[in-house]
Amino acid sequence: MSMKQAVKLRRPVLKQLTQASLQNEIVLSHSIWVRIFHWGFTVSLTGIILTGLILHQPPNFLVLNFGKVFIVHLASSWFAMGFVALRITDAILRRDNSLIPKIEDLKHFPKLLGYYFFLRPSPPPNRKYNSGQVLMYFSWFLLFLVASLLGLASYWQGKHLLWVWHMVGGFQVLRWIKFAVTIYFLATIPLHIYLSLTEDISRLQAMVTGYERKPPP
């Protein structure tokens, strides 16, 4: 895959790594755009979700300026959409299909579940991401696009995107779907954080540095 290209590291870093008599190979696993997307999206989605929940039900222990909460929601949404656009462009340019589920991913899924339920000692082989990750990330993309579409429809108040209104059948339904999407994000994000902290910590640091240490092929 294009991901595992030869590495160009800054010289002092490389020197230190060689001095540490490293056997494994250093490979690039996350391109710079992927990392920018990941952390940018993390921040903006957190903003969207927190302000969305406040818009849904103003908490009685916080007196926030609602006009500003609303602006934060909108601004975070525009940023998040921008980051997603960036990631999609990057994926198209690099022909990166690591986030698109394939049949073989689905075939591995039961075995992966077996691993998570402690029925198997190790996870089945996978592409860049394992089948659970692919499914979850892909569902995030889809649901983010759905929620953004609904958000834009309500933002334009029926001036544009009339077909969206006809499809969902009213503002209350639109709100309800966005709330459901938010709950889905809130339920799956902790899972994502938990598994990235406990399964493969070098993948986590790779999301910062971009590089991962792998045994030579």
Binding site: F118, G170, W176, L191, T198, I201
Partner: protein
């Protein structure tokens, strides 16, 4: 004659001053007298309804209401106003159908009841046969110049179509797909909305409609956008109970999702309106009312489950989050116990030639005699 532009101005001015009809009737009566506009024949059919829209409409104060009925519109058939009954009355309807095709306005009030061929709703008796509302509306609707559905039931099904909708009620547009139905929604519809739409039809033809078929004249903006309490909302100052003077968002106000001009037009001759008397907007002009809007004091609708129970949206959300927390904590504890977390972290974080792996070794237990 009054230009369309002036008419639109009067619609807003009349709302603010509260004398829409006094402003609008004199120029209209003149125009009719001068033969510039024809009196528009109107028939109203009531199907699955509580007649609330008629009562609302009749709230237009006389003498203006009687003036409109006699001078501007040709109000031909309306159960509440009829002076004839039986065959004589039905004949008026038939006459309108035969002599004025594509000329009359059909107003429908009430939901279309579809269960068992519509036989839970009869609206007439002809040739020894009961006529269902469904038949009558289709019959009259196909030859009408305009079809106007008034009230929540006729437009989108309304309370009659509420969960679990035993009568299989629906709105007029669904049973008359051939025609474009003009929806004047509301529970009930405001007299100005009904009469304003009729006058627009009489004078200038079909008004511009918004996304759910309602005249933009009245349904262009949300209640929230023009609400006098909007400044409270923007500052996050909310009423915690019904009856308080602040923004009613937290007690379930549906103003943000409801398209209607209530804040400027108000009700009962401009006397007051729901938010004006400190109760939340219940969203009566929207499709899906009342199910999607109830409980009226909650933000999101309750979700019906098979078996007839209803669960609040928020408890579904909390339930899902609770389940995932339990699952994650359970998994973490099991992983710690089985040593999986140690193994993974060591394997993926240690440097060196040989990647160490760990496995759980046998534990020995010590046994000691209990003191007796």
């Amino acid at each position: 004659m009054l230009s369309r532009r002036d008419f639109l101005k009067l619609v807003v001015e009349g709302a603010i001053l509260g004398n829409f009809y006094q402003l609008i009737t004199p120029p209209l009566a003149q125009a009719v007298a001068a033969g510039e506009v024809n009196k528009l024949p109107v028939v109203m059919i009531e199907t699955g309804t509580c007649t609330g829209d008629t009562i609302s409409l009749n709230n237009i104060w006389t003498p203006t209401f009687s003036d409109i009925l006699t001078d501007i519109l040709d109000w031909r058939y309306d159960w509440t106003m009829l002076q004839a009954q039986g065959d004589v009355a039905i004949r008026v309807l038939e006459e309108t159908y035969e002599k004025m095709p594509h000329e009359y306005i059909l107003i429908v009030q009430g939901s279309m009841i579809q269960r068992d061929g519509g036989h839970y709703n009869h609206v007439g008796f002809k040739n020894g046969k009961l006529i269902t509302g469904l038949e009558m509306v289709r019959h009259m609707g196909l030859k009408a110049k305009y079809v106007v559905a008034i009230g929540s039931c006729a437009t989108y099904g309304g309370p009659a179509a509420g969960y679990p909708n035993p009568s299989q009620s629906t709105g007029v547009q669904n049973i008359l797909p051939e025609r474009r139905v003009i929806n004047v929604s509301g529970c009930p519809a405001h007299p100005d909305w009904i009469m304003g739409t009729l006058l627009h039809l009489a004078l200038y033809g079909e008004p511009e409609l918004e996304k759910f078929g309602r005249p933009k004249l009245f349904y262009k903006e949300t209640v929230h956008n023009r609400c006098p309490r909007r400044r409270f909302y923007d500052q996050g100052i909310f009423a915690t109970e019904i009856g308080q003077k602040e923004c009613l968002y937290r007690v379930g106000c549906k103003g943000p999702v409801t398209y209607a001009d209530c804040p400027i037009r108000r009700w009962n001759d401009r006397f007051n309106w729901p938010i004006g008397c400190n109760t939340p907007c219940i969203g009566c002009t929207e499709p899906g009312y009342p199910d999607l809007m109830s409980p009226f004091t909650a933000h999101s609708p309750d979700i019906p489950f098979p078996g007839g129970t209803k669960v609040t949206t928020d408890s579904i959300g909390l339930g899902v989050l609770g389940l995932t927390s339990v699952a994650i904590i359970g998994h973490a504890v099991t992983s710690l116990y089985k040593g999986r977390i140690h193994k993974n972290l060591l394997k993926t974080s240690l440097k060196g030639k040989h990647q160490p792996t760990v496995k759980k070794v046998k534990t020995f237990h010590q046994y000691r005699l209990k003191k007796i």
